[in-house]
Symmetry: C2
Subunit: 345 residues, 2 copies
Amino acid sequence: MPELRKDPIVGRWVIISTDRAKRPTDFTREDMKMRGGFCPFCPGNENKTPPEIQAYRPANGGPPPQKDTPGWSVRVVPNKFPALGIEGTLDRQADGMFDRMNGVGAHEVIIETPDHNTSLATLPAKKIEDILWAYRDRILDLKKDRRFKYILIFKNHGEPAGASLEHAHSQLIALPIVPIYVSEEITGAKQYFLYKERCVFCDVIRQETDAGIRVVAENADFLTIAPYAPRFPFETWILPKRHESAFEHSSTQMFESLAVALKTLVTKADRVLDNPPYNLVIHTSPVQESTNDHYHWHIEFMPKLTKTAGFEWGTGFYINPTPPEEAARFLREASVEETESATAR
Amino acid sequence: MPELRKDPIVGRWVIISTDRAKRPTDFTREDMKMRGGFCPFCPGNENKTPPEIQAYRPANGGPPPQKDTPGWSVRVVPNKFPALGIEGTLDRQADGMFDRMNGVGAHEVIIETPDHNTSLATLPAKKIEDILWAYRDRILDLKKDRRFKYILIFKNHGEPAGASLEHAHSQLIALPIVPIYVSEEITGAKQYFLYKERCVFCDVIRQETDAGIRVVAENADFLTIAPYAPRFPFETWILPKRHESAFEHSSTQMFESLAVALKTLVTKADRVLDNPPYNLVIHTSPVQESTNDHYHWHIEFMPKLTKTAGFEWGTGFYINPTPPEEAARFLREASVEETESATAR
């Protein structure tokens, strides 16, 4: 069973893998190669993943489709090498002056498409909607488990961004704690709300819409911007224009618009930055306070363009060589013919 | 002039380079090659760096040595591509709802040795002491400048850790703000002190000394440990055993011991992890409150063993595949013949 341990100084929890501990020789210095040839996420290889938790299969009027067989459009399976164990109790306890609990949680993989050779940029917006629905379905299901305080959805695209398999997929981790960046955002947003009685993200949306210089794209429901103080070159956020504290509360129309906003952003990034590796994270409210006035869910998109990030880990101090106004201009001006009509609705 | 900008939600300041803005095509995807052949840090090439700020040259009884000539053992120069500008005022101001100030600060390079082919692991401990004295001298000098709130010393070793030149060097950045990780540590340490009336780091030192399982090395003045909740495999901290809030307050004897502790740790890491790239950061108190009871300066050493760090940026959530007890055992058991006698004093 992995362990969750808390740093006694800053209060940050980390997962310590105790089962498959890495010894010094397990760290290879070369790039991990994408496993060529065999892909466990491709249709026909369903028995190479743990049994599916959920899958969307088009109804075809015949008998109900069998689990773990081809024919799905989106498929959710447990991670074969989970960072957390799904069974057991948290068993919070002291370890001298330190604090620990069992590494209880869920770690799932959302296989975004049966087609090995496609990506968010090339999938039709309608298919991306299905992925968003799968996120929502899994969140609603896992919310029932009272052990979990936070459900994190993220995507690593490309090997330099941490993807170990090439086939388009995202991941979900359900946690007994709130990750520290999200909890810092919530604390900051609460303080702002206390002072101003307004959501700080709503204020950002208003100001950025007026200023325009950091706007990347916009549709009826979502605003895509380069944030004012980004840590990384071409860091981009997608925010719902109307206040909404939790991703999973989104309406059907919202998911339609978000699919278009996502596809637009990734397509633009592919054009401007030549198919960059990237990380994408959904920041949403913790499950136990998913309806509130101070926090505003959003997506953070971070292309991995620089390699020199070691120092930043020691300081939290970032030097960004690309002003967000420049990044936004490049992304804004990049054409996305296919999605243009949908964006302009 | 670079800009410092504050994220309105979490309050993190970042440096935005406005002068030499990176355009999309400036991000090359391949590894930066260490510039072979010519080295601006080698003796004889002193005119290839900005004029030296400080250098240690052995007194030889002759006329005083000339600046920017060979014969130095440690040499400090301004960074040729500084992240911050040394001239001007902060000019803090609002930018709509946002906050910005001029990117005023110092960015210096400490060239650790004239010998291109050496490193902290191979330098004699006596030479490492000189490097520590150079850090101290620069801190004391820059503390006089009231614009600076924090003086950060760090070292990137190896290209994957962000070093762009191979010749052993460290860097110093003087900042008008306190980097967020340090300020979080200070906040946490203050809260602990308020509750316990003891320094949390002193408590950690006591508990780790008693437990022993996370101890890597120890000498008269310093304890080297794998922290209880490390973010990275083989992350290691060096802490002064007696409470001291600021690095630059260290005595001559402390610097002697620290040089040995540093050399021991880097030598052990080289043995166990096959000369890993690493980052090393000195966490010390802000200049304006450098004497206090709650904060305890220390060094954080982070080998860069895993490449998959993109996701962590979006969440602050870390999965560490090596329990610190295992990491400590490997490092503790690694022999360091040359420094052994000095360590055991």
